[in-house]
């Protein structure tokens, strides 16, 4: 067993760890604080840490001036839409590879992974031109399609590693009891697979929410999700720190919460099961 750790040592480690943790988190904390200041207080010198009048006006301004909620809704539709569509395609594929593996299964999995290695910029021009000619530029549908395709390999891989852990004997038993394929999937597999599917959903919503290559290149005003909306602050007019902070806080808050739930799955999902 581990040795008893002296209280003094533990206190020192606690101090160091909290200092480092807060330092890493500080930019986020600072953004949240600034979002509650007035624009003048946001650039005050010396900077104000807590002694300022808390205000919600930035949040109101961001919504009024730029219809923040529409961009927020675009992000929701695009990230959940692409993830759900991806799951719909991936669940049958991962199921069959995990439970009815053939000689080629490994090759298929590796090949799927290899599509993820394709640098997006290598296919930017064709996708842009196809979208232009089919009227998909600056539409949520277009982004849902692209994000589904780029995240599909990750979704399949994650599901595959989870499905692999479901004992095959249970399926055999169900088959012996006369369950057909449909009821096997519906009543045996699904309940056991729900946790894995839920983590896959969570991680992919996060990835899609933060995706900032295709969303920046394929949207303008209409379908712009938060990634693209926030980018419009790169050429600001007048004082804007507090408003930028308010918009940023709203954009990252939901995903921070989801992200903290998905810590464990993050490692597994992003390493394609190579580190668990």
């Amino acid at each position: 067993m581990a040795r008893a750790v002296s209280v003094r040592r533990k206190a020192v480690v606690t101090l160091v760890a909290w200092t480092v943790g807060l330092a890493i988190f500080f930019p986020i904390l600072w953004t949240i604080l600034t979002s509650f200041k007035t624009e003048a207080q946001a650039i005050a010198s010396p900077p104000l840490f807590f002694g300022f009048d808390w205000t919600l006006e930035n949040y109101a301004t961001v919504q009024e001036r730029s219809d923040y909620f529409r961009h927020f809704w675009n992000s929701v539709v695009i990230s959940f839409g692409s993830t759900l569509l991806g799951l719909l395609i991936a669940i049958p594929a991962a199921w069959s590879m995990a439970f009815v593996p053939g000689r080629r299964t490994k090759d298929v999995l590796m090949w799927m992974l290899s599509t993820k290695m394709l640098p997006p910029v290598g296919v930017l021009i064709p996708i842009y031109l196809i979208f232009r000619d089919t009227g998909l530029l600056d539409t949520r549908l277009g982004l849902v399609i692209v994000l589904t395709l780029i995240n599909l390999p990750i979704i399949i891989w994650m599901l595959f590693t989870y499905f692999k852990e479901i004992p095959g004997e249970i399926l055999e038993a169900a088959r012996m009891d006369g369950a057909d394929l449909r009821s096997e999937i519906l009543y045996v597999l699904t309940p056991m697979a729900v946790p894995g599917i839920a983590s896959t959903l969570l991680l992919n919503v996060i990835l899609a929410w933060n995706e900032a290559f295709w969303t920046l290149n394929l949207t303008a005003a209409q379908a712009a999700p938060l990634t693209a909306f926030i980018a419009s602050y790169s050429s600001p007019e007048g004082l804007f720190y507090a408003k930028l902070s308010a918009a940023s806080t709203l954009a990252i808050a939901p995903i921070l919460v989801l992200g903290w739930f998905s810590q464990k799955q993050l490692v597994r999902g992003l390493t394609f099961g190579a580190v668990k």
Partner: protein, 290 residues
């Protein structure tokens, strides 16, 4: 064993995914390759003509290309260095027992969930701005002249921003790997008289080697395609000082409307990414056997 019926069903279930990915890979990829041999400018529609390797010649002899390759390597290398060294140190720290472990873990992981445009703009304006950024305030407080990060060290600034975003990823994976280390092995080494440094070099580091490799390979895939952080901070400048290959291809094709030249750059980017991918695939493929 699986019946023939089940095998047929399996094949049907897997085919939508395979067909979609096949289409996603082949259609745009072959278009990019085709365009790369054309003189094709979006401002002059209908004037496309075959030019052979001309686009490649122009792209590969463009000084901006060498700048971009250099910047790409610096960006990937710099971020990897910071995140691996920082990640190992942080993982070692977080692996110790202390009060509030869960909370600190959450704080450390948080930057990974911040979207690239937000983190880049927050760092650019609220920290690195030479007039009202926090770094400028700090410099003034200790009597130094504020430093204009993005004007004078654009690439380094971007490296720092991106490293902040990816440090949590490296830390999390290395911590996961560290926690799977058998503590008895460490204790045995300690009893045999190995000091902390020796224990780290001869036991922990070899154990972490695989996780470090995974971190390097996966981050490289993502870091080769860094785009948003550059777009909202420096726009690739000043000049080409912070233009990476991804940004150069974007600028060539969507800002200068040179589809042919941009496509040639895209093909080169694909070739470079594939070299990394081959190593990554081998690592993951080995793992699949067990």
């Amino acid at each position: 064993m699986a019946t023939r019926h089940a095998r047929t069903a399996a094949r049907i279930m897997i085919s939508p995914a395979v067909l979609l990915l096949l289409g996603w890979m082949l259609v745009p990829l072959s278009m990019t390759v085709y365009f790369s041999f054309l003189r094709y400018n979006l401002l002059m529609p209908g004037m496309e003509e075959w030019t052979g390797w001309l686009n490649y010649e122009f792209f590969l002899t463009d000084p901006a290309f060498f700048d971009a390759i250099g910047n790409t390597l610096m960006l990937v290398g710099g971020v990897l260095l910071i995140t691996i060294v920082g990640g190992v140190l942080l993982a070692l720290l977080l692996d110790q027992p202390f009060w509030g472990q869960g909370v600190v873990r959450v704080l450390v992981i948080a930057p990974f969930f911040v979207m690239p445009t937000v983190s880049a703009l927050v760092w650019k304006n609220m920290f690195m701005n030479p007039v009202s950024g926090l770094f400028a305030h700090a410099a003034k407080a200790v009597g130094l002249a504020p430093f204009d990060f993005l004007a004078h060290a654009p690439l380094l600034s971007i490296i720092l921003i991106v490293a902040w975003q990816w440090l949590p990823f490296a830390t999390l994976i290395l911590l996961t790997a560290l926690q799977s280390l058998d503590s008895e092995q460490l204790e045995a080494a300690e009893m045999d008289g190995a000091n902390p440094l020796n224990r780290f070099v001869f036991i922990m580091l070899p154990h972490l080697a695989r996780a470090i490799t995974v971190v390097i390979l996966i981050q490289t895939i993502f870091l080769l395609s860094i785009f948003a952080e550059i777009l909202v901070t420096t726009n690739g400048g000043p000049g080409t000082a912070s233009t990476n290959l991804t940004f150069l291809v974007y600028a060539q094709s969507l800002l200068q409307f040179d589809v042919g030249g941009g496509s040639a750059g895209g093909v080169i980017a694909i070739i470079l990414a594939n070299i990394v991918a081959i190593f990554l695939m081998r690592m993951i493929g080995k793992n699949l056997e067990t």
